[in-house]
């Protein structure tokens, strides 16, 4: 297999840059004259950078906006405000042929390997479909060979090119999804919960495959997941989202060992650890209540309604995701500090 992308490019330079991205879904009332009565603030001012060859993990609970963020980056949704550039090119202002060129460079792996593959298409057609839109990526005569190469790269039997998705297991289907994402030799792949539908023993196989492909082709990943252990395993840097905002972002070590935002601390402490001996010397921070509705987020800090540190200032002043004295990585808390005794 020849390398699809040249992995020679310098690791560390920014490939994707996102600036104050906002997506508000309008809530309307009435049938004919739809009146806007509010907005679901799914993504509410998100900024980050993705460097070449790195994996940026995005964690958060349901409704925090992580999947909307993925859809925005793929331009499946139109942002309300904000900017993003991929390899220097503006992601949101382009259209037509220019947009197609940009899209070629960024592909997506979906969560559910059962519904994200068309049951009436053969595996060869599914993986080869991107070539219909981007004929320049593979000349017509060489497509079948290219699809077989891709099957081989993701660890499937190239002879199964004419089989249908239902003939594959969940883990194998996710491999098909990955092969489709690789078809156009993108530099960035957005993985939206790629292993959460898989069984434990299969999950590890797919994670290893993603890591191996990253090394082989110099890919950059945005890895969205709710499983904190999986995210720690695969990510170089991690962004923690809560109600449409990034509340803390840092290296794997900064987030998992030296978190300063109370939400990150609570999230990490609540994750079950597969070690019965940890039961005693583990103190779990119990958060009260549920995540508020993104249609009506609390004023000031979005987390303050569940936070044990909340003071008056938290209701009034919106904490910025900036470097805090407690530890030199960005955290959006007025009272950012390391968790004592951990």
């Amino acid at each position: 297999m020849t390398a699809p992308a040249s992995p020679t490019k310098v690791r560390g330079e920014t490939i994707l840059s996102v600036n104050h991205l906002v997506k508000h879904f309008p809530i309307t009332q009435g049938v004919l004259l739809k009146k806007k009565v509010g907005a679901v603030k799914a993504v509410d001012g998100v900024s980050f950078e993705l460097r070449r060859g790195e994996t940026l993990g995005i964690v958060g609970e349901s409704g925090c906006g992580k999947s909307t963020l993925a859809r925005l980056l793929m331009r499946l949704e139109k942002p309300t405000a904000g900017r993003a550039t991929l390899a220097g090119r503006d992601l949101f202002s382009t259209s037509g042929a220019e947009l197609r060129r940009i899209r070629r460079n960024m592909q997506m792996v979906m969560q559910d390997p059962y519904t994200s593959l068309n049951p009436r298409m053969t595996v060869g057609d599914i993986i080869g479909e991107p070539f219909e839109i981007h004929p320049e990526a593979a000349p017509k005569g060489s497509r079948q060979r290219r699809v077989q190469e891709l099957l081989d790269v993701v660890g499937l039997n190239p002879e199964h090119i004419n089989r249908y998705p239902h003939q594959f297991s969940g883990g194998q289907r996710q491999r098909i999804g990955i092969a489709r994402a690789l078809a156009l030799r993108p530099e960035v792949i957005v993985c939206d919960e790629p292993v959460s539908a898989l069984d434990v023993s299969i999950q590890a196989q797919v994670i290893n495959l993603l890591e191996q492909l990253q090394d082989e082709f110099g890919l950059s990943y945005i890895f969205i997941a709710h499983d904190l252990s999986v995210v720690r395993h695969i990510s170089d840097r991690i962004a923690v989202m809560y109600l449409g905002r990034i509340v803390e972002i840092g290296t794997e070590d900064e987030i998992y060992e030296r978190a300063t935002h109370p939400y990150t601390q609570a999230l990490l402490s609540a994750a079950p650890v597969p070690d019965p001996d940890a039961r005693e010397h583990r103190t779990v921070i119990r958060l009260k209540g549920d995540v508020p509705s993104p249609a009506d987020p609390p004023s000031g800090c979005h987390f303050r309604t569940r936070c044990w540190k909340a003071q008056e200032i938290c209701a009034v002043q919106d904490p910025q995701t900036v470097l805090r004295a407690a530890d030199p990585h960005p955290s959006a808390c007025h009272f950012a500090e390391l968790r004592p005794g951990v």
């Binding site: 609970e61 890591e211 650890v273």
Partner: protein, 345 residues
């Protein structure tokens, strides 16, 4: 632990002070148009009053089907219990009439499910749904059922219970819906609660709340609990004992601590090694090769042998019996001791 029936024993009344529930050599098959899928192939386990047993397995391992057989809610057809016994307080549930089983269901054994949204009826208020059991089964008046429903909702810590009686399931968050379902299950004060993946659909912080609630209720009401899950983390947090299932069999059965310290079945060992850890950053994850078997064509001998790094010829030829290990554990592996003592991997 020591009196755990490893092999099927002849039917005999449970000794006084014996097990609350005992499943003996249960076999369940699904008869479909494409053939017979052997879903449960000789499962035996027991549960004492107040105890928490975790049944761990991946999809298709038979962990939920066993629970449905205990509850008597298997879809028949296609499911068919071909042999075995399910003894509740010494009485074989499989020998009871549907009317007699109805008396056990809810009152003695109750169950909660993974997806509370589809387990609740969307067109009735939750208070009415919790009260329905009380009216139907205990013949309570509407007013009494209402009052008791509020108590139950308080018990499961739904804030403002009295005000939320008239709300519909969609007006509750995922965690709150799960609490509603727990309240319904507790309505008849069962002695055994079967929780089938109760927190799988929930977020981490809410999962912690629900597992806490279940642990508190179990202690306060002195219930036994069977926790069905695929999550090794949840098991480590709450269970006393654990039964690991693979291809319709229990491959390993042990108290939680010994199992996590030194798994004695290659499948358990593989599972534990393949999960990424929150408290450490690892390199390459070790994996279990291959796929779980097709239940219509279960491999000969040990069903795990095609994926097993320890497999020898004997594993292909001979079905391993439960090997009793010294500390009251069992493992259905020809090389159980070697696996347990092999700390290298």
């Amino acid at each position: 632990m020591s009196q755990h029936a490893v092999r099927p024993t002849p039917a005999s009344p449970t000794p006084p002070g014996g097990h609350l529930l005992e499943v003996r050599d249960l076999h369940v098959e699904f008869r479909t148009g494409e053939g017979v899928a052997k879903v449960i192939n000789g499962v035996s386990y027991h549960l004492d009053p107040g105890e928490t047993l975790a049944v761990l397995g991946e999809s298709g391992s038979g962990k939920s089907v066993t629970a449905q057989a205990i509850m008597g809610i298997l879809d028949t057809p296609p499911a068919h219990i071909s042999s075995g016994q399910i003894l509740y307080q010494g009485r074989d549930l499989l020998g009871l009439s549907e009317e007699q089983r109805r008396q056990v269901r809810g009152k003695e054994i109750a169950m909660i499910f993974q997806d509370a949204l589809s387990a609740l009826n969307p067109v009735f208020p939750v208070g009415w749904q919790i009260g329905e059991t009380l009216r139907q089964r205990l013949g309570m008046s509407r007013a009494d059922a209402r009052r008791r429903a509020v108590e139950l909702m308080d018990l499961v810590q739904i804030p403002g219970a009295a005000k939320r009686l008239g709300d519909y399931p969609h007006q509750f968050s995922g965690g709150m819906r799960q609490r509603v379902m727990i309240a319904m299950a507790l309505a008849m004060e069962p002695k055994l609660l079967i929780a089938d993946e109760p927190t799988t659909a929930l977020d981490v912080t809410v999962q912690a709340q629900i597992m806490d609630l279940l642990a508190d209720l179990r202690r306060d009401l002195d219930m036994a609990m069977i926790l069905i899950t695929h999550d090794l983390g949840v098991v480590a947090d709450v269970a006393d004992r654990i039964a690991v299932m693979y291809a319709g069999r229990i491959v390993e059965h042990a108290d939680v601590r010994s199992l996590y310290r030194a798994p004695a079945h290659p499948y358990t060992k593989g599972l534990l090694a393949s999960i990424p850890r929150l408290d450490q950053r690892g390199g390459k994850l070790s994996t279990i090769q291959g796929l779980p078997p097709n239940l219509m064509r279960i491999p000969s001998g040990c069903p795990f042998h095609p994926r097993c790094p320890y497999a020898q010829q004997v594993c292909v030829d001979v079905v391993p019996h439960d090997l009793v290990l010294g500390d009251g554990r069992t493992s259905a592996c020809h090389f159980a001791q070697e696996v347990r003592d092999d700390r290298a991997s």
